[in-house]
């Protein structure tokens, strides 16, 4: 059993480090882990669940706002991006946040307007959608590894990112 635990812990460690190295997560995620303890063992996954629900809601708001059958309210789109930027920043979802920053600049830039601006926003939105889903899958894999370690009777190791 010990060999299995050791192997799972190694996998977990390598996987976590790769998520940081590939820019999926930043040190705010590390900060969230500090807030998890035996009293609140699922804190991180709970916050991330709320974040993913937020993504679904805000992305669908923006998709609706960008529906060109009516007049597009770009300030509404900007407001939703701002919210998504905020929550991605709070959970350490680095790539999502970076996309939100460019998306926001796209909404606020004076270079484009009307249909062209709408098109650019839709492209940004598609990228955000892909990115949050990719993160969700990665984190599910990471949380599964944690579960496997615990089920095997081991402790989830603290991963030092540096």
């Amino acid at each position: 059993m010990d060999a299995l635990i050791a192997q799972l812990q190694r996998q977990f460690r390598d996987y976590t480090i790769s998520l940081y190295q590939q820019g999926f997560l930043d040190d705010q995620f590390t900060e969230l882990k500090k807030l998890q303890d035996d009293g609140s063992p699922d804190f991180v996954s709970e916050v991330l669940s709320l974040f993913f629900e937020d993504c679904v809601k805000l992305i669908s708001n923006m998709a609706r706002a960008l529906d060109t059958t009516g007049t597009v309210d770009f300030s509404q789109v900007g407001a939703s991006v701002h919210q998504l930027k905020g929550s991605s920043s709070s959970v350490g979802a680095k790539r999502v946040k970076t996309l939100c920053v460019s998306f926001k600049e796209c909404c606020e830039a004076k270079n484009y307007e009307g249909l062209m601006l709408c098109y650019r926003c839709v492209r940004c939105l598609q990228q955000v959608d892909i990115e949050y889903k990719a993160l969700k899958t990665k984190l599910q894999d990471m949380f599964n590894l944690e579960k496997q370690i615990i089920q095997a009777g081991g402790i989830v190791p603290q991963v030092d990112i540096n």
């Binding site: 900060e31 807030l35 709070s90």
Partner: protein, 208 residues
């Protein structure tokens, strides 16, 4: 200090005051459900009692400052700190700060503003209106630890001035409960609390 533990502190050299310090009660205001969850955890882990609300309007309702019927039941409401997001739909954190500072019941309660945007004029405007601090999001545990220490120092300082029979402070406390606003203590009101706090905190290190 463990949650719920009572801290007794005797001020020596002539003062007979005993200070009991139960856990701080913090009101956290943020329209983002993710941020509410995080700030709540940050505060709980720092041994604070936390109430979260999702808007400035709900915060005013909670404090009984919305002119509603609930106000008369709230004389026992003790809030030691208000932490609020700046950008919220409807009432912004700045608007909320102003309303709190205008109220007689809560104007002495420290208010901390949080924002994801590092905009200097915004920060200055909030500090000028009496905000204790301006925190840049995402908020970390170190930020909350620092704020808590600040607040506890302020509370100790208020008790210290009481123990030295500061009539000004006693008078202000009386006025707070009777909600009469016409006392002329301009020296307290002109100085933004953040600046006042900074000069007084230097005298407090002996207390700890």
């Amino acid at each position: 200090m463990a949650v719920g533990e009572v801290m007794r502190m005797e001020i020596p050299a002539g003062g007979e005051l005993t200070v009991t310090s139960p856990e701080l009660h913090v009101l956290a205001v943020d329209d983002s459900i993710v941020d509410r969850k995080v700030i709540e955890r940050l505060l709980r882990i720092s041994s604070c009692k936390v109430t979260t609300v999702e808007s400035g309007t709900r915060a005013l309702q909670y404090l009984g400052l919305d002119g509603g019927k609930g106000a008369s039941n709230l004389k026992d409401l003790k809030v030691n700190l208000i932490v609020t997001d700046y950008s919220m739909p409807g009432l912004t954190g700045y608007d909320l700060l102003k309303k709190i500072k205008e109220s007689s019941a809560f104007r002495e309660v420290p208010v901390v503003i949080m924002s994801s945007e590092n905009i200097l004029p915004r920060i200055e405007e909030c500090l000028k209106e009496g905000a204790e601090e301006f925190l840049l999001k995402p908020v970390k545990l170190a930020d909350v630890t620092r704020i808590k220490q600040l607040i506890m120092r302020n509370e100790a300082e208020e008790c210290k001035t009481l123990s030295h029979s500061n009539k000004r402070k006693l008078q202000e406390d009386c006025d707070t409960s009777s909600s009469s606003s016409s006392h002329d203590d301009s020296s307290v009101e002109d100085t933004p609390s953040s600046k006042r706090m900074k000069s007084e905190s230097e005298n407090l290190s002996s207390l700890f």
